[in-house]
């Protein structure tokens, strides 16, 4: 690390991005370990200690970020809230990517009627704004974490499907695929050894980028009261409850808002960098 320029060239990661990745991973680990770090029951309230000041207002306060309207430590709730948000958006992302990839592969490889039907479904999905799909699902299935994961899957798959479909249609006529066919490789082998490997990096970039959308979707739905229900918490729930105390305890809403902004920024900047990094066209140039 004596020569940062050389370090950068060697590992190909700019210091700033490295910093983003490290902080993001740190936030993830911290929040996933929330039950270990602070084993509390989220439903337990402590009314005598409600709305206590945070450290930056009262240096003697035992609560880093103060307490909420039911006397619960905001720092701990923040940890648990981030945990819920991250877990939900990650599981949603994995499901959405899987569904989208499978549909895209089917549409791209089969073509014809199957392709038309799948394209129609993506059109249908895009005709209803994401937030509305969330509202409908919450209305029909009730507001809980599974509904949000379902909403993420339902809204997220179409962009993956379009990406994979267009990639496959491009790849189908690429010479190295033909070359493998000429060797006598089976369709499945070509799919796994060549096609999937070649669409993996755009898919990873898209998945990373979409993660910030899904975090936004989760917190929006929870904020609207259509997602995570108290006493469980997520970043959206924290903002939503905090907003009732904005005049006096502004930090209750502002701190979780900042966490949301921070997460979304980190992810989109990391995603941007990944896109440039994994683009084989740019790679060939260096």
């Amino acid at each position: 690390m004596k020569n940062p320029k050389r370090y950068r060239r060697q590992y190909g990661i700019p210091i700033f991005i490295l910093f983003l990745i490290i902080t993001f991973v740190a936030i993830m680990i911290l929040s996933l370990l929330a039950p270990v770090i602070a084993p509390v029951d989220l439903a337990v309230t402590d009314l005598p200690n409600r709305l206590k000041d945070p450290v930056f207002r009262d240096p003697d306060s035992p609560y880093l970020f103060g307490t909420d309207d039911l006397g619960r430590d905001l720092a701990i709730r923040l940890l648990y809230g981030t945990r819920t948000t991250i877990m939900i958006s990650f599981s949603g992302m994995i499901i959405a990517t899987a569904i989208g990839a499978v549909f895209g592969i089917i549409a791209g490889l089969c073509g014809g009627t199957v392709d038309i039907i799948i394209s129609f479904l993506t059109d249908v999905r895009l005709s209803v704004p994401t937030t509305f799909i969330g509202i409908i699902c919450a209305c029909i299935l009730g507001a809980n974490s599974f509904t949000i994961i379902l909403v993420i899957a339902l809204t997220g798959w179409s962009s993956f499907c379009r990406l994979v479909r267009s990639q496959i249609i491009q790849l189908k006529h690429v010479k190295f695929i033909e070359s493998s066919r000429a060797i006598g490789a089976s369709g499945l082998r070509i799919l796994f050894e060549h096609i999937l490997v070649n669409i993996a990096s755009p898919l990873i970039v898209q998945a990373t980028m979409s993660l910030s959308e899904f975090i936004l979707l989760e917190s929006t739905l929870s904020f609207l009261g259509l997602g995570i229900q108290p006493p469980n918490t997520s970043l959206g729930v924290l903002v939503s409850t905090g907003r009732n105390y904005m005049l006096t305890q502004w930090w209750l809403a502002i701190i979780p808002s900042m966490v949301i902004i921070l997460l979304i920024f980190q992810i989109s900047l990391i995603g941007d960098w990944l896109r440039d990094k994994l683009d084989p066209k740019l790679q060939n140039m260096t």
Partner: protein, 328 residues
């Protein structure tokens, strides 16, 4: 020469339908990419197929490789009829080198995996056994052993084509089909790769079909030459015979286009008039009749059959119709 027939093509046709319309598509015509082509490939020889772009030579190669299904006709390889559903044991014995060394190698695979892919598809060899096959092959095609972990984009065009050749040779095929393997390369590199083909032909006793649009390339590499025009064979002859007694007017035009290294020697160029007619509405008679300086009336209305004029020389032209029996 050993007259053992390794591949035989008879009456091969490939018509592409031309469709119009959005949902209910109507077939409004056909492109006759390959139209009634017959020839044989003998063991040990290098058969050059020459023609301008769009003459159907690539489609012909793709059909032989089983990448495209023929509309009509038969391809017989090692005594068995083949089409797109080729059994694995036959597929192993016919391999192909592609035109574009840039797009024909998977950019996400390293060189080792690219060259070994045919082994993975057709055999269950251990890593060590694969290495035993790979190392001498690498030496023969001129790839450095240390390059195996690199990726295609780290190589130049000529090196990539060597990789493509190694990949096609690793199964020790009986027949190697080369579709314009040097046309995407710089001229200086072309010569290296052509010489490599010549060396490999000796080392591996290869039988090759070599497709190109470049007469000088074909002359350098081939034992026998097929001249194609608009999906049909115009002339077949051994190289020397073709160059000494060029019969077909189209072949003569192609010959005259070869650059001559001797500035003292002047050769009469026969320029080709006009464009290749669209294969969509090919003339009813000889496909070349529209551009042929010696065309007679019959050339425009009747298609000439392929007749042989001497032992191994076949030509499809009305000018040589007298006294020759129609064959093939």
């Amino acid at each position: 020469m050993n007259r053992d027939i390794i591949l035989s093509v008879s009456g091969l046709k490939k018509y592409f339908p031309v469709r119009r319309g959005l949902i209910l598509q109507k077939t409004v015509g056909q492109v006759k990419a390959v139209d009634d082509v017959s020839f044989q490939v003998y063991r040990g020889e290098t058969l050059g197929i020459i023609g301008e772009s769009g003459c159907g030579k690539t489609t012909l190669a793709r059909m032989i490789m089983g990448l495209e299904k023929q509309t009509e006709g038969e391809i017989t390889f090692l005594g068995k009829k083949i089409d797109t559903e080729m059994p694995a044991d036959l597929r192993k014995k016919i391999q192909m080198v592609f035109q574009d060394p840039y797009s024909s190698l998977d950019p996400r695979m390293n060189i080792r995996r690219i060259i070994e892919e045919p082994l993975r598809v057709h055999t269950k060899l251990s890593a060590n056994e694969k290495r035993q096959i790979l190392l001498p092959l690498l030496k023969n095609v001129g790839i450095d052993e240390n390059a195996l972990q690199k990726y295609p984009h780290e190589f130049s065009g000529g090196q990539r084509q060597r990789i493509g050749i190694a990949r096609a040779l690793i199964l020790q095929p009986e027949l190697l089909l080369c579709d314009e393997p040097v046309s995407a390369l710089d001229v200086s590199i072309q010569a290296q790769i052509l010489n490599l083909f010549k060396d490999l032909e000796e080392t591996y006793h290869l039988t090759m079909i070599f497709v190109s649009h470049d007469m000088s390339v074909i002359r350098h590499i081939s034992d026998r030459i097929i001249v194609m025009y608009l999906g049909q064979i115009m002339e077949i002859a051994p190289k020397k015979e073709l160059f000494d007694h060029t019969l077909h007017p189209y072949s003569q035009a192609l010959m005259s286009a070869i650059p001559v290294a001797d500035p003292e020697r002047q050769r009469a160029r026969i320029p080709l008039k006009g464009e290749i007619p669209s294969p969509l509405n090919a003339p009813p008679g000889c496909p070349f009749s529209g551009r042929c300086a010696k065309a007679k009336e019959i050339c425009h209305c009747q298609k000439p059959g392929l007749r042989h004029t001497s032992a191994q020389h076949y030509v499809a032209c009305h000018l040589f119709a007298e006294g020759c029996e129609e064959t093939l």
